[in-house]
Amino acid sequence: MLEGLIQGFVEMSSLSNLALLFVGTALGILVGALPGLSSPMAIIVLLPITFAMETLPAFAIMIGIYVGTKLGGSFSAILLRTPGTPASACTAVDGYPMALRGEAGLALGYATMGSTAGGLLGWVAAVTAIPFIATIALDSAPPDIALIGIAGLVMVSAFARGSMVKGFAGVLVGLLISSVGMDGQDAVMRYTFSLPILESGVPFAAVLVGVFGFAVVFSDIAMTVKGTELLTRDVKLNLPGLGDLLRRWKAWVIGAAYGIGIGAIPGVGADGSTWLSYATVKNQSKNPPPEAFGTGVPEGILAPESSNNATTGGALVPMLTLGIPGDGSTAIMLGAMVMHGLTPGVSLMRDDPHIVYGLLAALLIATVFMFIIAWTAIGSFVFVLQRERSVLFPFILVFATIGAFSSANMLFPVYVAIIFGLLGFWLEGRGFPVVTIVLGAILGPIIEYNIRLGLALSGGEWTTFVGTWPRMVLASVIVILIGIEIRSAFKARSAANRLKDQSEERTGRLAPGD
């Protein structure tokens, strides 16, 4: 393992790879700082560029963006009280009051230190867990892989925000999309409507560009109407001392622990982990007392920021060992792996270990770059925060169009991307977590192939899916998660009915007197 990791660092340390990592991280901080723009969108925008690159350099720039956006989101959360990314919303709770007190530089300093500490701890966790899990995963048989895929999709549906119906419906839409084209086992056309262009399936790059590119612009056009006002324009980063940071170790260690654990669960991502870590640190805190949180305490910035960046390491674990993405960005990276001729999943570590170790090396280098860039150039990012979306959106549309076009050198994927953009925009507006559609589309072929292969090998015996104890555990996890979801849906419904009854009762009592 150590040998592989050293090799990964050697490959990533070439001047061109370091430059790409640096540019990616700076771009990530920039994108993260701008409300409405996100890491998946930035990666999508760069698709035409990454298509033309070798695999590792392409992933260097993607990892840089992924890491950088995590910190960038806190800049606007602190200075605008408008989080640049959903995961940074929690940072605004204490970051903005600190900025209001005239300590914006210090608040940004705590955010930078928290993000760096979380990123480093997340990296340690990923490096420790990935070889271990990959070794176990390599012994998986087709039924195991199918169950892992189904468990991943159930987790995505269950933990994604919104209702259970919408989460599962999103996954099923993705699975149906993945069924389009020639069936790999029987060579029969499905949903092709006799169109040769659909024989190889719905172009995956187009789905990604539509959902994470066009849909976001359609949705955020409101930002070109509503302006934003910075709290302060003259910001100098004020990094806290190491002693100060060590004194508050609980905040960033708890934050990182949540980030690593929750980041590894598909679909939850950093959004959930930041709030959970914040609540835990707040409840356990004696100095400052819990009631001081929300008034601008450093622990309220350190915990969510550390958690946010630790999810990068956590999310890479299922992505690199099982082929299950933890969030939107890792979903796109999985798609990019396929486009670069790799086979993501349990065999990745066996067949292409240099990619796995290269990505791990990139993660650590990007975290260090993130700290250096924030330390030295924060003023530039604050300057860009003042720019209007009216300049950025037209350029993003051009990049997204050419990204879809260059995936097949024809206009068909662009039209598909626009359709998915409209679909994603509408469904996101109705509370559907669109990442579920993408994950369904990615995991669909893997699940179907392995279910059919597993059944074929067992002579059509369905009991093969509970034939060993790990399969029983996986099947139980799936059943339990679905059961919990159904139960909580019923509970939420009866609670809503109770509230409605109480409200009607109260209205009825008040009405005659009024």
Binding site: D186, R190, T192, V225, P394, I402, L411, R430, G460
Partner: protein, 189 residues
């Protein structure tokens, strides 16, 4: 309880949900109908499943979920009818109309851009597309918009055509791409 709406002519959340739910149901039913008419059975036979089985399972589950969603939407519409409606303030209405206009126009410009990309080429249609969007979003004065559109489009052309070697020339009428390529060759790039 209060809900915003009144006589603003806006579609209620419940109706939007119902439209979405019916759309999903239609999608799920299409999943049954269009798998492929000339096929084998649906259910697993000896030795495994057929190519129709998984799409059939997906469509069945999606149909069930869509029907649940339809029922939820109808209940939501009924609940909304009981709520007191407060009219949307005129400024908010004007802002909503502007956002809707910009969204529809962005979509229209995007469709025109994509349709004309292979006709007149990237070098001609991109600056026009950028300029149109800058004007739509009221970015600034038209001279500034024109400069950013031209410079930005040229930078993107250099990246896509010169560096990444994408074929983005127009096939009907595109005098700009050969001119730019010749000009770059003349200066040794």
């Amino acid at each position: 309880m209060e809900a915003q709406g009144g006589r603003s002519g806006q579609i209620s959340e419940g109706w939007k949900d119902l439209v979405t739910a019916v759309g999903l149901l239609v999608f799920a039913l299409a999943g049954f109908l269009y798998i492929n008419p000339n096929g084998s059975g649906v259910w697993p036979g000896p030795g495994g499943m057929t190519w129709r089985t998984m799409p059939f399972i997906y469509s069945s589950l999606l149909s069930v979920l869509s029907i649940i969603y339809v029922v939820q939407s109808i209940l939501k519409i009924r609940a909304e009818r009981k709520l007191t409606r407060t009219p949307v303030p005129p400024e908010q209405q004007a802002e909503n109309r502007l956002i809707l206009f910009r969204r529809v126009a962005t979509f229209a410009f995007l469709m025109a851009y994509v349709s004309l990309l292979r006709v007149f080429g990237f070098a001609i249609v991109t600056p026009i597309f950028l300029f149109a969007l800058f004007r739509l979003y009221a970015r600034g004065d038209w001279k500034g918009d024109a400069v950013i559109s031209l410079v930005g489009a040229f930078a993107l052309w250099l990246l896509f055509v010169r560096i990444l070697h994408l074929n983005l020339k127009g096939y009907t009428w595109d005098p700009v791409t050969p001119f730019l390529l010749d000009a770059l060759s003349m200066v040794g790039l």
